[in-house]
Symmetry: C2
Subunit: 140 residues, 2 copies
Amino acid sequence: MNESDLTFLMKEHGIKPTSNRIIVAKALSEGNRPLSMTELEDRIGSIDKSGIFRALTLFKEQHLVHVLEDGDGVRYELCHSHDHAVDNDMHIHFHCEHCGETICLEDLAIPEVQLPEGFLIQSANFVLKGICPKCQKYPS
Amino acid sequence: MNESDLTFLMKEHGIKPTSNRIIVAKALSEGNRPLSMTELEDRIGSIDKSGIFRALTLFKEQHLVHVLEDGDGVRYELCHSHDHAVDNDMHIHFHCEHCGETICLEDLAIPEVQLPEGFLIQSANFVLKGICPKCQKYPS
DNA sequence: GTTCTTGCAAAATATTTGCAAGACG
DNA sequence: CGTCTTGCAAATATTTTGCAAGAAC
């Protein structure tokens, strides 16, 4: 996504697109997979971790990112939804226990689950773990 | 589960049942829900966190516990499987964003997912998030 | 005695906040 | 100006290791 698309997306989610926020959003967009705080820090370099943290916190509140826990900590991923109230494009992720990468399986929606009475579902975290094709092919 | 059941279970998983490990396993068993390191520390009191950590690491390696990430960090749960190589009783969990508790939905197995060629699935983490019945009834 | 286990302290990480300076309007 | 944003430093919290003493075999 280019800068103006990101700017637009942020406005849609009620976020003022400051320079730092655009940089963080861009890094997320270019990651093509969920990134952790540390990965973002490494990729961005120019912004202090507190700045990244605050951007992510805001994005999270405004549902501009998904928060995802794989076996390796918390990761963030740009949300493609245009709705600033709900996450509606959640999908399954795969976390490779060998190389540590987390891959989006965009085509695989999270299955509906029938919960007992009284539970209100707001979001879901569904991560499959195992070995990815790359690591099976070239085991180090 | 009582002490001798736990001892037996541990042996089944190739773990020498030392006193510390029994205490940790017992705490997990009595929790009736996935517990974090900190929760275990609080419940146990008598063992240093490094001891708990080392017990959990071992349990994890021998598949005596499930590792679970809800929105609130890592949690551990006794695995009811008698197989020390694979997790085969994974089920869905619900994490309440209000009270922070994570509840097991033992009846709800994790749905089968058809992944593209080349992915080897070893385990899965499926956590639904929202508000639990208790918190909807008595919102603080 | 050799190996495994434990507790303590401390290192290494990760997450989060306070505050003053700067940018924006 | 007044408000929002940022960087830096520092406080917290969390996870992990080193090492020496003790227990188990």
